[in-house]
């Protein structure tokens, strides 16, 4: 369980902003911080990690106090037992995949964890390669494994997948979910991708100007409860094609691709990569049982 109450004045491009964040995260929960650039997501993550100091605040993880500015307790990043994955991988270029992982070992730590992680994120065939010979997705898998070498309780992911293409992103999401469950991690993700957030998170905090604007279940936050359609999904537009007198819009919903017939008035402000709610009435879909 993570209880955090964080206050810090940040200097931003638009002047000073007060970061004022309260988090209450259950053990084993997968939580996402969502919000526009400069809302304070990365600063929150860095303060949790101990990479940035808070002006005032308290962070308690499973009854251990990591930070208490009143009692002058402030654990170092090493003491906090966190795994941190950045957008830009941050691997050592001169070391092989295996060496990158081994470098993260604590003094005297059992090396068997390296083998285990290499198996879990399927790096066996790549273990002797140098990072620059790997694809972005492969490098991020290495970064994910490296973040887990010290068996952290908390995994912090700062937009780890935003530089990857859509297929690679979906694969990495699966790896992240796998390690999240396997190691019973409490994971905090920073992400802008609504499909990704809905797929991965139990809870979402929406940040705006340094404060939590909304929190809750991602589906209820993102789907439109103002619309009576009971068959609603959030997806991303991947293609728009005009045919005859209609448009066919292809939308990626989770791992599924669906097609929707639309009118010019509906696609006029719509582009590839836009997030959309796909809605229909509960009366329209049919159900077909799969298998026996």
């Amino acid at each position: 369980m993570i209880e955090a109450d964080i206050h810090k004045t940040l200097s931003t491009a638009n002047g000073k902003m007060l970061l004022d964040i309260q988090l209450s995260i259950e053990k084993g929960e997968f939580v996402t911080l969502y919000g526009s650039s400069g809302a304070g997501k990365t600063s929150t993550l860095r303060i949790l990690a101990g990479l940035l100091s808070a002006d005032e605040g308290k962070i308690a993880v499973d009854n251990t106090i990591w930070l208490d500015t009143v009692k002058k307790i402030n654990y170092t990043p090493q003491q906090r037992k966190i795994g941190y994955v950045f957008q830009d991988y941050a691997l050592f270029p001169n070391m092989t995949v295996r060496k990158n992982l081994e470098f993260a070992l604590e003094k005297g730590q059992d090396k068997s964890i390296i083998e285990e992680l290499i198996t879990i994120v399927e790096l066996k065939e790549l273990e002797n390669r140098k990072p620059k010979t790997l694809s972005g997705g492969q490098q991020q898998r290495v970064a994910l494994a490296r973040a887990l070498v010290r068996k952290p309780k908390v995994l912090l992911l700062d937009e780890p997948l935003s530089a990857l293409d859509i297929t690679m992103r979906a694969k990495l999401q699966d790896y992240i979910l796998k390690v999240h469950r396997e190691y019973e991690l409490t994971t905090i993700l920073v992400s802008h991708d609504i499909g990704e957030i809905i797929k991965m998170s139990d809870k979402i905090y929406c940040l705006e100007d340094g404060k939590i604007d909304k929190e809750g279940n991602p589906i209820s936050i993102f789907t439109n409860d103002k619309l009576s359609g009971k068959f609603q999904f959030t997806g991303e537009v991947i293609a728009i094609k005009q045919e005859e007198v209609v448009y066919i819009v292809t939308v990626l919903i989770g791992n599924n691709v669906v097609k929707i017939i639309a009118q010019e008035s509906e696609i006029i402000n719509l582009g590839i990569g836009d997030k959309v709610v796909v809605a229909s009435k509960a009366f329209n879909p049919v159900l077909l049982k799969i298998g026996k």
Binding site: K226, L227, S228, Q263
Partner: protein, 133 residues
């Protein structure tokens, strides 16, 4: 999406379903069936302003106003414009509440001998209408 604004004029509830009437103007009332009740959806009350939404592909076009049909929402209009495609055609029907767009099979367009200025009835089944606040 065809969208018209109106206010809720009647709600009949049975278990988790509601049949909602939405008055658009003094003559036209749309009916829709929803898997919602006034308990589950706060906007379901008499007098609430809502938008009625239905897809162009769900609009049925007829040249005669027959009572012997199970479609409950019917509006008389005049075809303002036809855009003909190979399989599908797009009609704009001018009605007293505004333009309704319908996408129908081009074959049906020919069978019904539909032309611009033809008088038609646009029909929408109750289960094809969504409400939005």
């Amino acid at each position: 999406m065809n969208t018209f604004s109106g206010h809720i004029s009647d709600i009949q509830v049975n278990e988790s379903l509601s049949m909602v009437s939405i008055r658009i103007n003094e003559h036209i009332v749309f009916k829709t069936i929803l898997v919602e009740t006034p308990e589950t959806a706060s906007y379901l009350k008499n007098g609430s302003i809502v938008d009625v939404l239905f897809k162009e592909t769900e609009v049925i076009i007829s040249t005669e106003d027959t009572l012997l049909i199970s479609v409950q929402n019917k509006i008389k209009g005049t075809i303002k414009k036809i855009k003909r495609g190979v399989l599908l055609s797009r009609l704009i029907v001018t009605t007293e509440i505004g333009d309704i767009v319908a996408i129908i099979a081009t074959e049906a367009l020919d069978t019904l001998l539909l032309k611009e200025n033809s008088t038609v009835i646009a029909m929408i089944k109750v289960n094809e209408i969504m409400l939005s606040r």
